[in-house]
Symmetry: C2
Subunit: 222 residues, 2 copies
């Protein structure tokens, strides 16, 4: 998957997917949760459009990294909706990371202010790193990588020719991407200068507590 689809292609395809979904070409019934306490849950996520019917069976096991296992794993099944035949089985982790990173870049391109050029990545794990790669692929430069684990920030900065830095330096960039598992807010309202664009990738997972102490919540994604 990741070898077959370059980040810049993923960004363009993800942008197109959002537009097609908006145009009503795809239907996405609500995902179905299967709780597996205490470790996590499974999600069955169907979709249909473009001649296909798709089912993503994916985990969220937040404590897995401490056991050397991935948070996100599973398979994505792709069927032909004319014949019903199964045509592909894809690795969920790769699709999820690339789509998530690409969506961050689509968001920055569509909603960032004109001339936005620098990027702060807050949280340099799997999805933060793919957001960085996708943003770099569409022209963002001079990124600042921040992470409570300095090694993670250094590795990502080194890969992209960006720099590692403290949280405050990441928050001073034109575009900020937060992908953190914490339960504490990392941005206070005064940190948000006019024209700054914040992509809150893990907002839903953290029930709105992790990233920004909101005065106003403009968009909720159920």
């Amino acid at each position: 998957m990741l070898a077959a689809v370059e980040p810049a292609v993923a960004v363009e395809r993800t942008r197109e997917a959002f537009l097609r979904h908006r145009a009503g070409e795809w239907e996405m019934p609500p995902k179905l949760y299967v709780d597996a306490p205490p470790n996590g849950d499974f999600r069955a996520m169907p979709a249909r459009g473009g001649g296909f019917a798709i089912l993503k069976w994916v985990t969220s096991y937040p404590g897995n990294p401490a056991r050397g296992l991935p948070v996100v794993t599973g398979a994505l099944l792709v069927s032909d909706d004319e014949t019903g035949e199964l045509v592909a089985i894809l690795d969920c982790a790769a699709v999820t990371s690339l789509r998530t990173g690409a969506a961050a870049a689509v968001s920055a391109l569509a909603l960032g202010r004109d001339g936005a050029a620098t990027v702060g990545i807050v949280g340099c794990g799997v999805n933060g790193s793919w957001a960085a790669r996708c943003l770099a692929a569409v022209g963002y430069r001079d990124g600042v990588c921040a992470d409570v684990d300095p090694g993670a920030a250094d590795a990502l900065a080194s890969e992209l020719g960006w720099s590692a830095g403290p949280l405050a330096a990441a928050l001073a960039c034109d575009v900020i991407v937060t992908v953190t598992p914490g339960a504490e807010p990392i941005i206070d309202a005064p940190d948000l200068a006019a024209g700054r664009h914040v992509v809150v990738v893990e907002y839903f997972e953290n029930e709105g507590t992790s990233t920004i102490r909101f005065d106003y919540q403009l968009i909720a994604q159920p």
Copy 2:
């Protein structure tokens, strides 16, 4: 799948599965439908128990046989619910046929009258044939195979050492299994002698119209 699990083993495992489900060891959230008109639909069917979380992604494309394609196809994903890891991907068609045939045998063993020995199979397609194989594997003898396609009835009868016969002969057996795609009732109330056990495999698919003209409906499986 079919080579790995003998019909008699499938019957015992299916019986055990019903008992474990009844004991609350498995949860099965309602299946989620994705309609794909005009040809059929997809079903996302999750379940959890026994240390696993399972998702079956399966089609019902009733017109497919006329195009040389299967009605039922897809994949069944099996994950470890302790770690979230995907541990197996199974062929849906095989699981569905074997489970369906085994369930017919479990039903006959549990609900048929003492001494029931003969079986009438009405509809000798994929699932009717697996019901016959599972019933034969648990001791039913002298089966009568009926089908609007005499070739299908002959093939199944020949495989099992049973006989092909008309509908009336099948309906005179101790246990009757109907697996038909038709929309017309094939059993009228007077056909049902006391002590006869009817396993209506495709009742749900045919919205209750295909098999029996009911005076009373005792069990509805939503």
